[in-house]
């Protein structure tokens, strides 16, 4: 974990993506994630077949803006109905239904409720795809044979070569020291 490597110019072939390290249990992976964050790495990620509890804390991932996106969608749905209903029934085609006023909000609440839920759902799902940059059908990690097990039982850490702290030898040694069972170079 020597900082001397940090100032070395990163000499790499243009197609080098980075290092892929395989881990065999969750605890080692979490400890490695904490250590890598403390070592100052920026462009790296953990890959697991299931969500690991506490991983966002270990890696220092900030909370996302997804709840706000959902709120915006839900509000959009609610106000769409609260605006559309009077527009249709009070202005474009004013008509008296069962002696009710043209513009009566209580009768519009059930639809505003439903459309609010729809708006929140559509926004949060699209927000997920946009923030996660999915769909992304090609990724350099998919070239690694062992990475196919990431959706089965494989747990990995990948550090990108463009990370300022990256050095082919030192980073590899660090990963091995942190308990990686195997470290592999990934070329794009």
């Amino acid at each position: 974990m020597s900082t001397a490597h940090n100032i070395e110019p990163v000499v790499k072939e243009p197609q080098m993506y980075g290092l892929l390290a395989e881990f065999h249990d969750v605890q080692t992976l979490l400890d490695a994630a904490v250590a890598l964050r403390k070592a100052g790495y920026k462009k790296w990620d953990c890959y697991t077949p299931f969500p690991v509890h506490g991983m966002d804390k270990a890696m220092g991932i900030r909370p996302s803006i997804l709840p706000w996106i959902a709120l915006a969608g839900a509000m959009g749905g609610v106000f769409t109905i609260l605006a559309l209903a009077p527009l249709c029934n009070a202005f474009l085609y004013p008509m008296i239904f069962s002696g009710k006023p043209y513009w009566g909000m209580p009768g519009h609440i059930p639809m505003a409720f439903a459309l609010g839920i729809l708006g929140g759902t559509v926004f949060v799902v699209h927000g997920l795809f946009v923030l996660a940059r999915l769909p992304q059908f090609y990724h350099p990690l998919f070239t690694a044979e062992r990475f196919r097990r990431v959706t089965d039982d494989g747990m990995f850490i990948a550090i990108e070569a463009t990370d300022p702290s990256y050095s082919p030898s030192a980073t590899s040694q660090l990963l091995t020291k942190l308990g990686a069972a195997a470290v592999e170079e990934i070329r794009d």
Partner: protein, 481 residues
Amino acid sequence: MASVTTTQLPGMTGDFDNTLDDGVSKAPLVLGEATFREVTRKICRVAEAPRAPLAWYVAFAISTALVGVLGVMIAYAVFTGVGVWGNNSPVFWGFPIINFVFWVGLAHAGTFISAILLLFRQKWRTGINRFAEATTVFAVVCAGLFPGIHVGRPWFAYWMAPVPNVMGAWPNFYSPLLWDAIAVFTYTNVSLLFWYVGMIPDLATFRDRSKTRLRHTIYGILAMGWRGSAKHWQLYERTILILAGLATALVLGVSSTVSTDFAVSQLPGWHETIFPPYFTVGAIFSGFALVLALAIPARELFGLKDLITKRHLDNLAKITLVMGSIVTYIYLMEFFIAYYSGNGYEQFAYLTRIMGPYWRMGWLILFCNCLVPQIFWFKFARTTWWLALPAALLCLVGMWSERFVIIVTVLNRDFLPSAWHNYAPTWVDWLTFAGSIGLFFTLFLLFCRFLPMIAMSEVKSILPQAEGHVHDDSPAAAAGH
């Protein structure tokens, strides 16, 4: 995976009784060899087997034949006119609306399991949530079919939407029928998105295990390039949590909105404030009965007894019992309110249910929905398939009869006795209903064969070896949390 061998539980397979906790540790929810790899293998082998079990082919043949019948019946009704049904004056709402309300109700268990049980952190839901969500999506498909054909001219169904048109007319936003259309539209979309987003990591598992190029391409497109990144998992878990919150509101809202079709009208027997919770509880009750009735054969047929354990059946039966008991309370309360209101019309409506022309169905409801679920007080009944399965099916019969009685016994006794007219479904009605059951099972069987039937990533996350502790007290960690 040498480090996880300690968590294997030798001798505990699918027939092991894990319904009791010993007071020291929780009983395991995954039996057999509980490693990540084994969970993947057990669930994937259903979809990866070259041939499905023989029973699957038999069931699929029957279901698709019924879908054919459904198509013929719809074509017959559309080309001839809705007079081929038993609907009459004053019973304008016959089978189409009965079946619509029934199917919407069946959808509710999936949403309840994936939304409310997630918020309550019920770990056992992971074994059954995926296929319960699938029943939601397919039941909503069947539900949406009926109002679509009930309008008689389905090609004008878009008139329900506020579309600018040459007549300058707009939908009536005060009408519960429009609320209903929007609620079901919302329900369809939300349950589909919830189901799909939850399935993405498991579709990626299918992609990575695929042996042929075709499978790799199809599952690859559906999985959207999911690679299990921690940053993605964080967004994904947050999305699922928000969707669960929204769907919780929806599971309580949709049947409530459906009930306003009845409760907002001015008819004795329908015009009641108890209707929204009444319909919602009845919906959840029938939905859990359906999930129980599907889980019992599915775990046998596809060899999933280690993942859908007796504890899952036990819990499903318990929720069915609770909901059945609430339904019973509501029935009693309805009769009491009718008596206590002192309103002759209201009292007449309720006496008609148990003493009128449909008294047999009235008593069948009380038997199926009130008495039958009471056997689930006994653990033997909850965990024995030949008791639990017929009981669950009887609950479904009871709930369908309830929808029938609510709609028909109120409408057939109009305000003027001269307008009274009984209702009898025709063979077209019956075959259309049977066809919708075939449609449901066709979709469900295809799902079992080609999609991940159990949420693999979620089951893995509740295994003991998925737990870890973050040993870090630095401020950066606190900020990131």
